[in-house]
């Protein structure tokens, strides 16, 4: 069975500092990994994905994520946080892209960027 864990319910970062939101996963085979962001009273927005290739993937709003196969992690990062980055972030994993390969979401990490 596949699963994804976000060990932190909340992360607080001062504006301008680098941020990291952690994610670890468990899936058989090669994973498809995703990050989504949810702003208050909004749906989820796709940020970035790892399918194959370079372990460092870049996405929207200056975010990037690093795939680490040995640690089964896919941490979300940004070099310099903005107050507007404050939101709820979800990591997600799927085993493949076939009909039966469902996306599993983590429980979410609330990111607070302090001015």
């Amino acid at each position: 069975a596949q699963s994804v864990a976000q060990p932190e319910d909340q992360v607080n970062v001062a504006e301008g500092n680098p941020l990291t939101v952690k994610c670890t996963y468990s899936v058989s085979g090669n994973p498809y990994l995703f990050w989504y962001v949810q702003y208050p009273n909004r749906g989820l927005q796709f940020l970035l994905k790892y399918i194959t290739g370079d372990n460092l993937v870049k996405g929207s709003y200056g975010f990037e994520a690093e795939f680490n196969k040995s640690q089964t992690s896919f941490h979300l990062k940004k070099p310099s946080a903005l107050v507007s980055d404050s939101a709820l972030y979800f990591c997600a994993v799927r085993r493949g892209v076939n009909r039966d390969d469902k996306i599993i979401f983590g429980k979410g990490t609330r990111l607070h960027i302090l001015p």
Binding site: G43, L44, A92, R99, D101, I103
Partner: protein, 113 residues
């Protein structure tokens, strides 16, 4: 990416009533997905809606409670039947991208009194 419109964006309903949520996509898609996000929780897949066939429901969700229609390749509805306060959630419609990602509508925030 797809543009997904959901209606209503929010509603307050009385216990025992039913509400139908509509989802419109700006392109033709084979599968549409309905998720529930309970307060302070992650997303849980309710069902997968395929055009021309019955929806496939996940464990813990049944058609009598969450009937789904999929009349064409750009539209789907989810009905929440005989609502109770426990059904208060955000209901999200989504479609899949070519490399496995999902794109979501803005969600329908339902409060049941």
């Amino acid at each position: 990416s797809a543009v997904i419109s959901q209606k209503p964006s929010r509603d307050i309903c009385q216990r025992g009533t039913s509400l139908t949520i509509q989802c419109q996509v700006d392109s033709q898609v084979t599968m549409m997905f309905w998720y529930r996000q309970q307060p302070g929780q992650s997303l849980t897949l309710i069902a997968t809606a395929n055009q021309g066939s019955e929806a496939t429901y996940e464990s813990g969700f049944v058609i009598d409670k969450f009937p789904i229609s999929r009349p064409n390749l750009t539209f789907s509805t989810l009905t929440v039947s005989n609502m109770s306060p426990e059904d208060s959630s955000i209901y999200l419609c989504s479609v899949g991208g070519v490399t496995g990602e999902l794109f979501f509508g803005e969600g329908s925030r339902l409060t049941v009194l």
